[in-house]
Structures are given as C-alpha cells and as structure tokens.
C-alpha cells in the first residue's frame, strides 16, 4: 500500500498564453483522483501568459496552481531548479506547455512508477505505442540520425534522449539537476545520461508527441550544432 504521493508538475512557459490554459484543463481532467499541484514557471512572457494563469488560479485554486514567474528568459535548466524550490510533492513531473506532451499520459507515468518503484519514468516517442505526428521526413530523419548517433556514442540505456516529458522522484531530480550544466534540450539529455550513469532505476512509457498546434516552435538550424557539441561534451564528461 503506497503512502500518499503528491506530484508537483513543473511547466516552464514563454508566450504560451493559450496553451497553458488548455494544458491545465487537461491535467485536471486526467489526474482528477491524484494529489498534485501545477507550478508554472513563466519567464516574463510579453503575451500575457501570466494573466491567464491568474485566471486559471481563480477557477482551480491557488493551492493547485502556483505561479512562480521570473523576470525574463533565463533558460530551461534554471526554470526547473526554480520550480523545484517551490515543489511540495515527493514526485516531480516536467512537461512542455505546448500540448506536444499530452496530460493523458500522466496516469501511465504514475502507474509505471508505482509498479516498478523506479526513480525516473521517461516518456519515449520511439517505441511501439508511442509516436509522433506532424513531423515531415526531414525532421524524422534528423531525429532518427541524432538518436542513432547518441545511442552509439553514449549507450544511455533509454530510447528517447531528448524527450522532456518525465517523472522524477524529487530527491533524485535534486541530485541530478545540481550536476548538470548544459542549456536547452541538451540539458534534457545530460539529465537522463547522468541519471543512467549514477545507476538510478529508469523506466520508459510510450507517449505520443503531436507537434505544436498553437505558437511557434523553438527548434532551429543552429540546434544541430548545439546538439553535436552537447554529445561531445556528454561523451567526455559522463
């Protein structure tokens, strides 16, 4: 019989005025029987994201939705650290605000963790039962190529390295985050690789990843260079 678990869901946002409302609704819809809180870490969005979050607080309660904003874009890694400081749960979920991570998978993360006692449950898009939608051939090719390269060089023990839909035991997240220094999504890779090296029990669940429908994606050409640099860094330092 598991003791009462509380899940702190950290969602970093930047200009996600519409998406954050949709995500919050869906989280409440799928986790209606779970003790959780949502921590929105907004980096000073100019589009009024924070106003929408305050409206959501009126609907769902300020104890369920925490707004912990920052003055400007300060990076993903520090957004997680910042959110972590305010997390009162014993488990932490990190996810994107743009609906590419669908809250319908949250119960499967929780279930997997309870079944296996894992320290980390990470969502993977690359196994049967998971998948992507809205990716053209080029994007799939880049993704697959990047994945094969990373698997060959790093032997990470997970199938989806750059995914950022994860459930962590809070103490484990605190431990790993303190030793990670990368930026952006290389940071996601560094987290899971370091966790793997430290011997933490990691499980995977299939998730589907539907490319964002509102707003502009933040993936560009220079990301490939950053990725390769990140791989080299991880190869040498982990």
């Amino acid at each position: 019989m598991a003791e009462r678990n509380k899940y702190s869901i950290i969602i970093p946002t930047y200009n996600e005025r519409l998406n954050i409302a949709l995500v919050v609704f869906l989280v409440f819809k799928h986790l209606w029987d779970v003790d959780f809180e949502i921590i929105v870490v907004d980096d000073g969005s100019p589009d009024g994201t924070q106003e929408v979050v305050k409206q959501l607080q009126q609907v769902y309660g300020e104890d369920r939705i925490l707004l912990r904003a920052r003055p400007k874009k300060l990076g993903l890694g520090t957004a997680y650290s910042h959110g972590l400081k305010h997390a009162s749960g014993n488990f932490v979920v990190i996810m994107d605000a743009d609906l590419s991570h669908h809250p319908t998978y949250l119960p499967s993360f929780i279930k997997k963790q309870l079944e296996t006692g894992a320290n980390i449950v990470t969502g993977t898009r690359y196994v049967k039962g998971g998948g992507v939608h809205g990716w053209n051939l080029m994007r799939k090719l880049t993704s697959r190529g990047a994945n094969v390269l990373a698997q060959t060089l790093l032997w990470p023990g997970v199938s989806d390295l750059t995914g950022s839909f994860r459930l962590y035991r809070k103490s484990v997240l605190e431990d790993i985050i303190s030793s990670c220094v990368s930026k952006g999504y290389v940071f996601q890779m560094e987290m899971i690789v370091r966790a793997s090296r430290k011997g933490y029990h990691i499980e995977e669940v299939p998730i589907s990843f539907v490319d964002r429908i509102y707003g502009s994606s933040k993936l560009g050409g220079s990301e490939i260079v950053e990725y390769l640099k990140g791989l080299a860094y991880l190869l040498v330092t982990t």
């Binding site: 519409l18 409302a21 929408v52 429908i213």
Partner: protein, 89 residues
C-alpha cells in the same frame, strides 16, 4: 568509470588485437592493414542501416492529433464559461 574511459579501453583493446594480427602474420599483412578501414566502413553502414530502419518503423499517431483537436474544443468551452481568456491568438 567514466564512459569515455570505457570507450577508450575498448578501442585500445581492438588496436592491440590489430597489432597482434600484424605481428604474427597469421593473416596476410595486406589484408590486416586494411582492417581498420573495413571496421570504420562497417560501423558507418551499420549506422546508416539503423537510421534507415528506424525511419521506416518510425511510429506515428495521426489519431492522437484528432483526439487533441477534440480536447482543445472541450477545454476552450469549459474555460470560457469560467472566465478564462481562451480567445484565438
């Protein structure tokens, strides 16, 4: 042990094997000298194969996109009623 040390050890081991083969000349040295090239070529082919296979078997989920559209409509309806601004961007 750091990962890079593991990889280096593996490479050193393979190199030692290669030198051993060169010295003892069990296999004609003309072949042995080319072994590293063959190895790299095989590695490259393996990589390309993995990319190709992965690309063919890349799981897709078009039905999820439809479900998402429905979720969005449901969410907008619910939230609009309760005073949350979900007007289009």
């Amino acid at each position: 042990m750091k990962h890079i040390v593991k990889i280096m050890t593996l490479l050193v081991g393979i190199s030692a094997l290669w030198f051993g083969l060169l010295k003892t000349s069990m296999v004609p040295s003309s072949h042995t000298l080319l072994l590293p090239i063959y190895f790299i070529m095989c590695l490259g082919c393996y990589g390309l194969l993995m990319v190709g296979v992965g690309l063919m078997r890349f799981p897709t989920c078009p039905q999820e996109a439809l479900l998402l559209q429905q979720d969005v409509i449901e969410a907008k309806g619910y939230l609009k009623q309760r005073g949350v601004d979900v007007g289009s961007e």
